[in-house]
Symmetry: D2
């Protein structure tokens, strides 16, 4: 059995299919896609990749299967899905997900077409694994799919501890050993066994604190918004979305520098836009808080006009409302599986805290900030005054 040293889980032992899948282009490409994309502009130690994360998810899936007593064919398909679950990510992962979705309608967990005709599909078949079934598990389908994509999935468990290890921010350090051993199935649903309300709460809390401190840090959001705009312009300039989707981080960085040099250079050398507007839900008109991509673009043009700056020098960034998937995770209480939001008094507090942490932003080059702030106040009807 091949074993790989991992800085989070120590040795990860691979089954034969996994060892062969590891050598495919689809998986090797993940060596060149960073797990936290623009977050490393804030936390410099966070250069870890989706390759390493995929190995971690594989490992936790394997441990969970052992505790659940699942083996044979089902287990083999699940392990393959765990290793492949992120091959659908574009360059810079989540930061380009919407760009790709708007053009292809595909989310990153739809990997069926990406496997088609590749060495990965061949490897799967060599090991009597069905690519369609693997792709379905990656989409979260079926009992096993919940282990890879669901409220209690091992994907989340790995990224929380791994991101904590690599950023140095401790909040993500959950007790994954306990989570994995307390998993159970009840009526087709993955649940945590009796006595684990706090275990489930800890997962929620870890995600909420990492969100606030790491994943949604404003500097990372600014860089991410710049990257998204730059990617739109790259695609507008002629790069095909299928080519784009298969790029790795280095391909995109070099392509942006060539095709969108202003933003490309800024991203490469961390010369970022600054916040001209930064408001919470109470300071944001309801219609603005509901902006979709087209509304954002329209507002950008209008603000740029009024401020007398180029339309590429304004970015309006209205995030979706915070979601809380983990609130639906199931725990057994007094013998009965319940949704965590029903079993835990903490969930509503966390939900409210996440809502309180929502921010919309307007970003511009430092020199343009005063003009853009003034224009944005008019156009969006917000107060530019920053809420930290």
């Amino acid at each position: 059995m091949k074993a790989i040293k991992d800085s989070v889980h120590d040795y990860i032992t691979l089954d034969d299919a996994a060892a062969d899948l590891l050598d495919t282009r689809a998986v090797q490409r993940l060596r060149h896609v960073k797990q936290l994309s623009t977050v490393r502009l804030v936390y410099p130690s966070a250069s870890h990749t989706r390759f390493e994360h995929s190995l971690g998810v594989y490992h936790l899936a394997d441990r969970a299967l052992a505790h659940l007593g699942v083996d044979g064919d089902r287990a083999r398909h699940l392990r393959a899905a765990a290793l492949l679950h992120d091959v659908g990510h574009g360059p810079y992962g989540h930061q380009t997900e919407e760009v790709i979705r708007r053009r292809t309608g595909r989310h990153h967990d739809e990997i069926r077409d990406l496997l088609e005709g590749t060495d990965a599909a061949a490897v799967l078949r060599d090991h009597d694994l069905d690519p369609d079934r693997v792709a379905a598990i990656v989409r979260g389908e079926g009992e096993l799919g919940q282990l890879v994509s669901g409220e209690l999935d091992v994907d989340r468990m790995d990224y929380l501890v791994r991101d904590a290890h690599h950023t140095g921010v401790p909040y993500g350090t959950i007790d994954h050993g306990r989570l994995v051993r307390e998993l159970d199935y009840r009526e087709g649903h993955l649940v945590l066994a009796e006595g684990n309300v706090q275990t489930a709460e800890s997962l929620l809390v870890a995600r909420a604190l990492m969100d606030a401190t790491v994943y949604r840090h404003h500097v990372s959001r600014i860089a991410g918004a710049m990257l998204e705009r730059a990617s739109e312009r790259l695609l507008a300039a002629g790069t095909g979305v299928e080519e784009f989707r298969r790029m790795a981080d280095h391909d995109l960085l070099v392509a942006l520098r060539r095709e969108v040099p202003d933003l490309g250079r800024r991203i490469e050398y961390r010369d970022l836009f600054k916040r001209a507007v930064w408001t919470d839900l109470s300071g944001t008109p309801a219609d603005v808080a509901e902006f979709d991509h087209a509304d954002e673009r329209d507002a950008e043009r209008e603000i740029a006009d009024r401020a007398g700056v180029g339309s590429d020098e304004v970015i309006v960034d209205v995030p979706g409302r915070p979601t809380f998937t983990e609130a639906g995770s199931r725990v057994v209480v007094d013998g009965v599986p319940q949704r965590l939001e029903d079993a835990s008094e903490l969930v509503s507090g966390l939900r409210a805290a996440q809502r309180a942490g929502w921010r919309m932003g307007v970003y511009a080059p430092e020199a343009c900030v005063p003009a853009v702030a003034a224009a944005a106040e008019d156009v969006l009807g917000v107060r530019a005054g920053r809420t930290a």
Copy 2:
């Protein structure tokens, strides 16, 4: 400068007064008082002592002072108080605190009389430190006192990370580096600077999860209740409370084995009572939930009578309502210091979760559990059926 290697903070550098205080009996005694008393019966790695914790509190106090820009005489008194803050703990720390308080009226943070006439008082005076002023800081008085005993004190910061390190339960691993550098004073109150609502929340959350998983684990509570009853009997048998208060863990363990052999042996060899009753607030009559020590003793006797067992074979354990000191910690939001419970939507959720985690218990030797459970149902008007 003397430096001591610590498994949590690496090297701790001591000033001259601290180096001399370290050699006093009051501080050396803390080598023999475990930080987590009966918790180590659940988490075997948690054998760490109040000596090591006191060094950690000294270290964080010193770091906080540097960031706050406090030095000179005030800083020297604070550092001494940090090192001495736990010398008032009796054997097994918090587990004997109530026993001592009932007889002396003193809490563990009242150390003035303990220093009187000792080598520690002499060392303080040798270094131009005023024992009265040091004792006042330990009680939490004054601006500096908040650093050692208050909602944002370094005591809490050290014990959370240290207990996490030694138990292996990750929930306590807060970002103490950040907490210490974000401290500030506003109008005489210790606050966290702008942008730290999540930092404050993380402290709250860490304490709540450690409470549920570690500090209030039912096995530790049972052992703690046994220890408290055994201590009462030891004092009733003639040991003076002033002698008792100055014992270290090993003194108490040997004294109990000699004077209260049934419970003493059980504690020493972890042969613990089991839960006959375990109910949450909704399952506990309001008057029972308000039981004081005398009520508990009365109920024990009544239950024992009815169950036909010895009165030493029933323990009624009604904890106080959960408190949430950290909810009053202050954070600066938009330039204005606010109490965390006003600034954070999370606090009420945590408060509710802690209330939901409250349990009262009746414990008895395994063989007596059925009889005691039945008797307790009648006497207390509770349903014995366990809530996990």
Copy 3:
């Protein structure tokens, strides 16, 4: 399966026999015997116990068996032996080992008579385990015995990483994950598989650096020598060796304070003797370097006489020559098992370094140091001048 949280190996899963053995007096007593005895007077975080270490050895033994493909009856006996391997330690572990051996002829790994007639023997038999066979494994007999007591035993692997974790000194942090998976048997000998010369060297190096920095730190040696002398006096004053041997740390501490109050109090409050003489091999006459226990006692009396101090105020401490068991560990090189000292150029260097680190000491209360140093120079023919 019962699982216990450990700060080093995370969750440790116990088989049924181990879960029952855990509740026996012999094993519970190890909660009260510290792993590093007097070392914690230097490294205050090192309060961990032989109980926690025994769980760690059990865990690594279980992992090693899985990688070696050993199961069934042999594996069950080995796991029981791993859990029980330290029950033969007296109070303060190695520090009292010679005191006991001089009177009983028994080493700490001879546990057969200690199990006789106890609840532990009964538990073993209940689980169809043969106490004699378990005791033989603890003594290192047979193929499996090497796993618990030998050059590549899991005892060593656990204590190195555990002592590193608890002292904060990183040198012991070996790659135990790799060591355990590279074990193999060749012709009845435990070996490390091909490609592991450095793995074996790392174990050697870790032990050598921990020896120098932790295990043989002069402060710990002084306290240990005081404890040994105090124990001798306790036994001379009437305590039986069989009672002594079964004491835990707290029993000994209380007994010494009562029966040998001068040394007892000094040990309890870390008021230690200081070095009057401290010389390396080149500065120590050959006959002195070979002193046995009786020679040490004679020299102490002679030095005390000449210095005009009490005979209890001089301690002569001549350690045995450094041994290097791990040098005999076997590694496969080019297909052939070799002793590490033949395969590695590093071993002779480490051996020489350990010889260079050898020190003999004469210790005395601080006030007596000058007189004792002068007397010792005459009596032993050494130069008192300290070699660091």
Copy 4:
């Protein structure tokens, strides 16, 4: 003061000059140069960058200065040098160092010309720092230069602990806290104070074990040799060495894929050559062990001819003899500074062990291995048979 969260040293506080230097292109470029280049093909978690390492070296330099009592102008220059010490590295760091040196005569620590006329030089001057003086410190000149580049430099201390953290291989986890506090100057030389022979040995041992297990792992060496050959071909195809030198990892990866597609793709997707020959010093003719770059090229051509494969399908890799800079580190023994190799018996053992670990290799695509092995035996006069 700006503070940055680091996964190894927690918060790193920057002085004003450092905060400004951080935003320069020279330093931001280091975000895109991995610390361990091809090592991450073996240890997937090791994606950390020279940017993060440079912050770590800055931090340790700052700590060392505080303990050495150096401040003012000298300290400010040293801190700037620490932050800039790696800006002279080409893409993939050490792997392209020889390629650059053969064409420019410059080592990576010669940064003067790279600063000339850049924003970094301007920032230095803005803060009254002399670029020439900073560059001299980076080259290791003067008393302070030893702190950044010498036997006891903080560069080494940071990379050992950081590489251990990110690979998961524990051997590099030195006690940097102790090393930094025990530094001293004696007669212009940086030394470790009295009592630190083992501290110095531990540094040596850590480097030797990391060398064997991580830095010189054969898979990383093969990938590195492929990268070097590919770089030579890129330069031969017209890329200028000054442009090459300033590339970051992503630039080189994209350039290689375009200009040297066979090797470029292989490196990107980890489709590596295999070992046809792998021999130690005893199995390598003396003249072959002394091969320089030109000899290697000649031999490659001759082997390729004889094997009937393309000349790009053979790589001869003869590393230099192992050096042991740390052997010259100075420690104070009995008041006198000595070179470690004179003070420690361990050094010669480590030197011999490193010599024993020397290997030369001939690499080829898997399919060509048998033919290349046979040809190489003839051409080089070695036995192809692998020594592990």
